[in-house]
């Protein structure tokens, strides 16, 4: 446990110092960290799921507090919590199943357990969900007692009361094992989401298309390159994306793949958008209402695209789906970066004199990191699960997160 704590502290520090940035990197690190947290978690005799959830929540809270703007961290924490719940649920389901099928045949049960890993945990979870709580209003209403019951030992324990202790032991180890498996899968998903997204590229990019993008997103790059590999020839306008100028990097990468690329300044977006067929951008996070948190400047692009009826497509992996609804996201979910990106301190030091005007300087420099694009400006989301309308995002989110975890906070009692 102490070594885990050290890992956690290290990661928290990195997040705070913005050493780890970008939703992909932070999601991956978070998932790995939580995996080691879980694997080091000592499992109590009863209520293992509850213990795991508590442990994850404790860590998750710290991580989220370290950089609340990096929504991917919170997403992954919630995903892991969700995984734990699902696994617990599925094992409970198996237990019930086992009870119902053959109470006496422990061997069979074990044999089943052996087989289980072969099935994907997700499939199992899905099965459990479909058997236990089909998406109907009734189950939604029943959801609360049900999920509350899951972590609680009495109910789950009560089900398996008739079982032997060894069975429980197996189940407890099994739970941890399954959870770790599932997290591994999640990590893999995060890594490979680009591939799944870019597989859809040919469906969206046609010959001689003119595409505009801003800044650099790995997903966008893969998406465009995938289309190029399928021998589509098209032209890309890359807005450089001040103040980070990642557009330069993207342009270089695209050119190396043989894509016709034109770099423009951000201010020329409106001028060029009338000749663009499609805008494809990456995202920092997708909110539950279908709004997008994206690198600064994209709202401008989205407005221009709307003006000229150009489809505005956001490509993002599912780890960027955030189950929160944004409130005043421009301010609350934003990061203000260092002014030196915009102004040279040396040149403007005289303007930043705090002493001259009653303690407040005349000059303020605003350098936000993100823009919020309201859902009405987004035409389509392309995620690793396919294309979706902004209005569908809330439903997608329900697949990945459980409603209990939206607020990642340990109960004050624990």
């Amino acid at each position: 446990m102490p070594d885990v704590q050290a890992l956690v502290n290290d990661f928290v520090l990195k997040l705070k110092r913005r050493k780890i940035e970008g939703s992909h990197a932070s999601a991956q690190h978070t998932a790995e960290l939580l995996r080691s947290v879980i694997s080091h978690q000592r499992m109590p005799y009863t209520n293992q799921a509850g213990a795991l959830i508590d442990a994850v929540k404790a860590v998750g809270e710290q991580l989220i507090a370290a950089n609340p703007v990096e929504l991917a961290v919170g997403n992954i924490v919630r995903r892991v919590l969700h995984i734990i719940r699902e696994e617990d649920l599925s094992s409970t389901a198996t237990a019930i199943e086992g009870l119902g099928l053959s109470a006496g045949s422990d061997d069979d049960d074990e044999g089943q357990h052996e087989d289980r890993p072969a099935l994907s945990a997700a499939a199992l979870a899905a099965a459990a969900r479909s058997t236990l709580r089909a998406p109907s209003l009734q189950t939604l209403l029943e959801d609360i007692p049900d999920s509350a019951a899951a972590p609680q030992p009495p109910s789950s324990g009560g089900d398996s009361e008739g079982k032997s202790k060894s069975d429980k032991n197996i189940r407890s180890r099994k739970l941890k094992h399954d959870v770790i498996e599932a997290i591994n899968e999640l990590i893999q998903d995060i890594d490979t989401c680009h591939e799944q997204i870019s597989e859809q590229a040919v469906e969206h990019i046609h010959q001689n298309e003119v595409i505009l993008t801003l800044g650099r997103s790995r997903t966008v790059k893969e998406f465009l390159c995938a289309a190029k590999e399928k021998n589509r020839s098209f032209r890309v306008f890359v807005a450089e994306g001040a103040p980070r100028y990642q557009g330069h990097v993207l342009a270089k990468e695209l050119v190396s793949k043989g894509i016709q690329t034109t770099v423009i300044t951000d201010s020329a977006v409106f001028a060029m958008i009338s000749r663009v067929n499609m805008v494809i951008v990456g995202a920092h996070a997708i909110m539950a209402n279908g709004g997008v948190i994206a690198p600064v400047g994209i709202n401008m692009v989205a407005l221009a695209a709307q003006r000229h009826a150009v489809p505005f497509v956001v490509v993002a992996g599912s780890h960027k789906l955030c189950p929160l609804y944004p409130h005043n996201p421009e301010v609350l979910l934003n990061d203000l970066k260092c002014p030196s990106d915009l102004l040279d301190f040396g040149e403007f030091s005289d303007c930043m004199d705090f002493g001259s005007h009653g303690g407040s300087p005349l000059l303020h420099v605003v350098n936000p990191a993100f823009d919020y694009v309201p859902p009405k400006l987004v035409s389509l989301f392309i995620t690793d699960t396919g294309g979706h309308n902004p209005s569908y995002m809330y439903r997608l989110i329900a697949d990945y997160y459980s409603a209990d975890d939206l607020v990642v906070k340990r109960r004050s009692t624990s």
């Binding site: 032209r235 306008f237 450089e240 994306g241 001040a242 103040p243 100028y245 330069h248 990097v249 342009a251 270089k252 050119v255 043989g258 894509i259 016709q260 690329t261 034109t262 770099v263 423009i264 300044t265 951000d266 201010s267 020329a268 977006v269 409106f270 001028a271 060029m272 009338s274 000749r275 600064v296 400047g297 709202n299 401008m300 407005l303 221009a304 003006r307 421009e330 934003n334 915009l342 102004l343 040279d344 040149e347 403007f348 303007c351 005007h357 005349l362 000059l363 303020h364 420099v365 605003v366 350098n367 936000p368 823009d371 919020y372």
Partner: protein, 678 residues
């Protein structure tokens, strides 16, 4: 027609003299245009009266026609007379003219009891001229028809009038009417007292200016008069050929137009047949004129022929950029950075170029001077220098030679950097002034007149206009406002500073963008003056826009469909402001308006040096695009301007006041007229 023409030719000189020669006044062949005031006063001249009396007086104007056609003028006149202020000496003179004349019809108008038909005609013509010029005329309905210019309204008027005349039948009485109508209808067609007309028109031209800039000093008036004189002279010259040809001349020169009309007045017989012919002419002339109004198509750089030609003539060595952006083949895309040293090395070899022009060209090239006003002023001052040092080569005419000279300067400047629209307008003005130089002027006089013209242009169209704009705009700033501006506009800067001087409490959000980062210099200046500033890049526009209450933007030009042509990024700012429902105020001097129209930023634009995009100042780690030119798939595009659709613009603040974008074409038309005849 031919017959008529013949008559005209014969009559013309006679009529002119008759109409406007003051009894004792020495009558310059030029019809005394030169001195409008004199002409006016002289208008009642004895010679004309007899003529009119003989031919027209019997032809009393039928009442209906009076009511219809004359009624309007009467209104306008009445309006005019009460307004003492606008009435420059010229105007008064014109009014007097009718008084002096004894045409009964005139009396109807109410100006003076005794006015001969001919005089009345004069009066009418005067009105027509004045109407467009003077603001008050515009108010009165009559004003429209009065315009002798090609404008459609003018035509309509003519039509009406002529119609009235025809309705009257071939009656002699009608003739007077018809004549009147004719006069009005065609700027050029006025029949009888053409000379007078010419003068009047000239006056009219000069007038608008005065009234408009109520401030317009005496000097302006004088200059206008001088111009009028010049015009008159030209007209006089033109008249003869026109008379011989008999064809309708383009209305642009009023003098010419006038001539044909002169013939008409003389004979009553002319009336019936003349009317239709006149009408036709009237129609035709404006048509031609309108065609002329259409701006020349710009040079398209994907037209290889023309590019080749242009290159051969070019002073500046330009080589095509390697990775040209496909979409902008029609714009010049040259390698930047090579011209300057090349030009500098040629400094002593370029005979034809005046050093001051050369200097300005280099400044454009190096970017030391930028911004519509600054470039325009620099260019005009350079031309002023050049004119000062100019001497007409032997056996050449100053007008021709100087125009050619200026043209060569301009093409040099274009090679240094494509002209801004403001510069284009200023050049048009200058060439016009040169063309209008009276031949009687000695070279030194002509030069000094041109120099003072340039001074006046700078002063009136830029300096004073800016002051007026500032005055207007400041009324839109309230305490507690947060004003956003983009880039660095000289007018907006003046507005902000002035509002600050007035003690208004406000904050400025300064939005800037790569690659020029012009906002930083402005930021320095504003902060130095103690303004509270927030600085950001255009990417963050949606973030800062939430607290903003007004957006002030400068413009390189405002096109006649209301499109604002300005520094690239302006459209983005206006768009976001529009999305946040924040008013966007465009500050632009009226001399930058242009009759061109544009829907997007691609058909016409200027491309800057692409290299500046690959390098980010102060960010040495960004070298991803260092050798961008080696890869043919990669292009860098550095647009300089963009076009803001008019629906993003709440208001355009100009020296004519605060107008909606839909009113731009009106200003363009009115302004251009005045501008041409300044």
């Amino acid at each position: 027609m031919d017959v008529r023409r013949g008559q005209r030719t014969v009559i013309d000189p006679k009529v002119r003299q008759v109409g406007f020669v003051p009894a004792g006044a020495t009558r310059p062949p030029a019809r005394s245009h030169s001195v409008p005031t004199d002409a006016c006063s002289s208008s009642p001249p004895a010679p004309e009266l007899p003529l009119s009396g003989s031919s027209l007086s019997p032809v009393m104007i039928p009442p209906p026609r009076h009511s219809s056609a004359d009624g309007l003028p009467s209104l306008s006149r009445s309006a005019a007379s009460p307004v003492p202020i606008p009435a420059s000496p010229l105007r008064r003179d014109t009014v007097q003219i009718p008084i002096g004349s004894y045409n009964p019809s005139e009396s109807v108008l109410g100006s003076s009891p005794m006015i001969s038909p001919s005089s009345r005609l004069d009066a009418v013509s005067e009105f027509s001229d004045e109407v467009p010029t003077s603001a008050w005329l515009g108010r009165s309905g009559s004003g429209k028809f009065a315009s002798s210019f090609p404008s459609s309204s003018g035509e309509m008027m003519t039509m009406k009038i002529t119609g009235g005349g025809s309705g009257g039948g071939g009656n002699t009485p009608k003739s007077s009417l018809t004549t009147a109508s004719v006069v009005k209808a065609l700027p050029g067609v006025s029949e009888k007292d053409r000379g007078a007309l010419i003068e009047v028109q000239n006056e009219g031209i000069s007038k608008p200016q005065k009234q408009k800039t109520s401030k317009a000093e005496r000097r302006a008036i004088q200059e206008a008069q001088r111009a009028a004189k010049a015009a008159a002279k030209e007209a006089g010259e033109a008249v003869k050929p026109s008379a011989s040809s008999g064809g309708a001349l383009p209305a642009s020169k009023q003098g010419k137009v006038v001539k044909p009309s002169s013939q008409k007045k003389d004979g009553p017989q002319v009336t019936a047949p003349v009317v239709p012919s006149e009408k036709k002419v009237g129609d035709r002339i404006p048509d031609k004129d309108r065609k002329k109004d259409v701006p020349h198509p710009r040079m398209q750089f994907d037209d290889k022929h023309r590019v080749e030609k242009a290159k051969r003539r070019a002073v500046v060595n330009q080589s095509e950029a390697r990775n040209r952006v496909e979409l902008f083949r029609h714009l010049p895309q040259y390698i930047h950075g090579t011209q300057l040293p090349d030009l500098e090395s040629k400094f002593f070899q370029l005979d034809p170029m005046h050093p001051s022009v050369y200097k300005v060209g280099l400044q454009y090239l190096s970017g030391v001077i930028s911004g519509g006003n600054a470039r325009c002023i620099a260019m005009l001052l350079a031309f002023q220098e050049a004119i000062k040092d100019y001497s007409t080569p032997p056996e050449k005419a100053l007008v021709r030679d100087l125009t050619a000279k200026i043209s060569s300067y301009v093409s040099f400047l274009i090679e240094c950097r494509p002209l801004s629209i403001s510069m284009g307008n200023a050049i048009k003005f200058l060439k016009n002034r040169i063309a209008k130089l009276p031949h009687t002027l000695s070279e030194s006089e002509a030069k000094s007149s041109l120099q003072s013209d340039i001074d006046r242009f700078i002063n009136e169209k830029i300096v004073i206009a800016d002051k007026v704009i500032v005055g207007h705009a400041v009324t839109k700033i309230r305490d507690g406002d947060i004003l956003l501006t983009y880039g660095s506009s000289s007018v907006v800067e003046m507005i902000l500073l002035y509002a600050h001087e007035l003690g208004k409490q406000f904050r400025v959000v300064l939005v800037d963008s790569r690659p020029k980062l012009e906002g930083q210099a402005l930021l320095h200046r504003l902060v130095a003056k103690g303004l509270n500033c927030t600085y950001t890049h255009i990417n963050a526009i949606s973030y800062v826009m939430q607290e903003v209450t007004r957006v002030f933007l400068g413009a390189s030009s405002v096109l006649s469909n209301g499109t604002v042509y300005s520094r690239v990024g302006t459209a983005c700012v206006a768009m976001v402001a529009n999305a946040f429902q924040i008013p966007v105020l465009i500050c632009c001097e009226a001399y930058k308006f242009h009759e061109r129209v544009q829907l997007d930023s691609i058909c016409s634009n200027e491309l800057g040096d692409p290299d500046v995009i690959s390098k980010v100042a102060g960010r040495n780690d960004l070298n991803h695009l260092e050798s961008w030119a080696d890869n043919e798939n990669l292009q860098l595009l550095n647009l300089i301007y963009d076009a803001t659709p008019s629906d993003y613009v709440s208001m355009i603040i100009t020296d004519y006041g605060m107008i909606p974008p839909t009113s731009v074409p009106v200003i363009v038309r009115e302004y251009r007229r005045e501008h041409l005849w300044i």
